[in-house]
Symmetry: C2
Subunit: 226 residues, 2 copies
């Protein structure tokens, strides 16, 4: 259906224009924005819960949460101590820049150091929609299998970091971390892979360090901050 | 973006027209067509491998396999003894009726009892695109968490059967089968849930029985079979 392709490109182009406005707004406010993507159930929310608890003293953080339905994940993140605003997409398969712009009304960005955007659980569509973020993170999990990077290459190619979650389950599955890392290199040679278990806490120090370095790389807000 | 919604509706309507043609073609040939959907890595391919091995003597079966990239899953299914035709969608997030129609060139449908279509790993978009199938199956897996039915309600609402895979990992996660079944009932009261472990073989007899009954319910091909 070539017609479909043309239409989608027009939509993405409009989204890109709005995303550029968002990116400018983030930079003027001096807030680091991180867009998290994954398959359903890979552990994005659990990672944010751990981040809320561990980095609360270091940074002023908030989140925007995308789901087709329910506010379950927003309640979990708020319970972990991080302000969070829910976007319900209805049937929508990804967040777009319009939705994020509306959700930003919940916050004064100048009061934040880091804003996390948890995208809809989907390893395909969110990759095509820029939300103006500084960093993209793909969360993958061992029960999904070690071949996901080559089977869903777009999301991995556009990522700045891969968090490989549920390493505590690797032994109970046929997951090979070496194979996974090899496939990631095939897609994007310099893409870092952080192995973690949000359940046991193993490896989370590496993730917290990555967040700190991303925040430091952003530097202070522009002098004419909004 | 209301514009987006209108465009998508037009595309779905065109797809529905083609899917109706496919459905008619399946019925004339007397082949049962089963469309399998799930998150990435839930176990659709592993379920088809087990089905290929167990039901080879009972039915003439074949598969169509949808992936963004690679022919890994097709090779796995062929190795298990079932003919399989790969569709690579590029960046596409679901199979559509045009793609399936083209892939059908690989088969004489009159020579088949059952055709399985393994959709792209995505718990959102495939649900919106009818492929003319007789039955829709959602494969869910315990590591994804027990709340997936209410967080991805559209796929579950349109399903005829849920296969809950990786029950061998339920104890190592915080998965509650009772909660999962309750959420499924909230979405669609009479939707059957078949608990299986493709790894250990537990529960697969229930799935094979469901396939047999679906095949029996279809009956023989129409007298003027194509």
């Amino acid at each position: 259906m070539p017609k479909r392709i043309r239409l989608d490109k027009a939509i993405v182009t409009e989204n890109d224009r709005l995303a550029a406005d968002l990116a400018d707004r983030y930079d003027r406010a001096g807030v680091l924005v991180v867009n998290l993507m994954s398959s359903p159930g890979a552990g994005k929310t659990t990672l944010l819960e751990a981040t809320a608890r561990r980095l609360a003293g270091a940074f002023r953080m908030a989140a925007i949460e995308g789901d087709l339905a329910t506010d379950r994940d927003t309640r979990r993140i708020i319970d972990a101590g991080m302000p969070c605003r829910q976007i319900n997409t209805g049937g929508g398969c990804h967040l777009n820049a319009v939705q994020v712009r509306e959700a930003l009304d919940a916050y004064d960005l100048r009061d934040l150091d880091i804003l996390f955007i948890e995208n809809v659980g989907n390893l395909v569509c969110p990759a095509a929609f820029d939300l103006g973020e500084h960093r993209r993170v793909v969360v993958s999990s061992t029960p999904e299998g070690d071949d996901k990077p080559i089977k869903y290459p777009v999301a991995f190619r556009l990522a700045d970091c891969v968090v490989l979650n549920k390493t505590d389950l690797a032994g109970a599955t046929d997951f090979s971390a070496d194979a996974f890392r090899g496939y990631v290199r095939d897609i994007k040679a310099d893409l870092p892979v952080l192995e973690v278990s949000c359940k046991t806490g193993d490896g989370l120090a590496g993730w917290f360090q990555w967040v700190k370095e991303a925040r430091e790389a952003l530097g202070p807000p522009a002098p004419d901050a909004e």
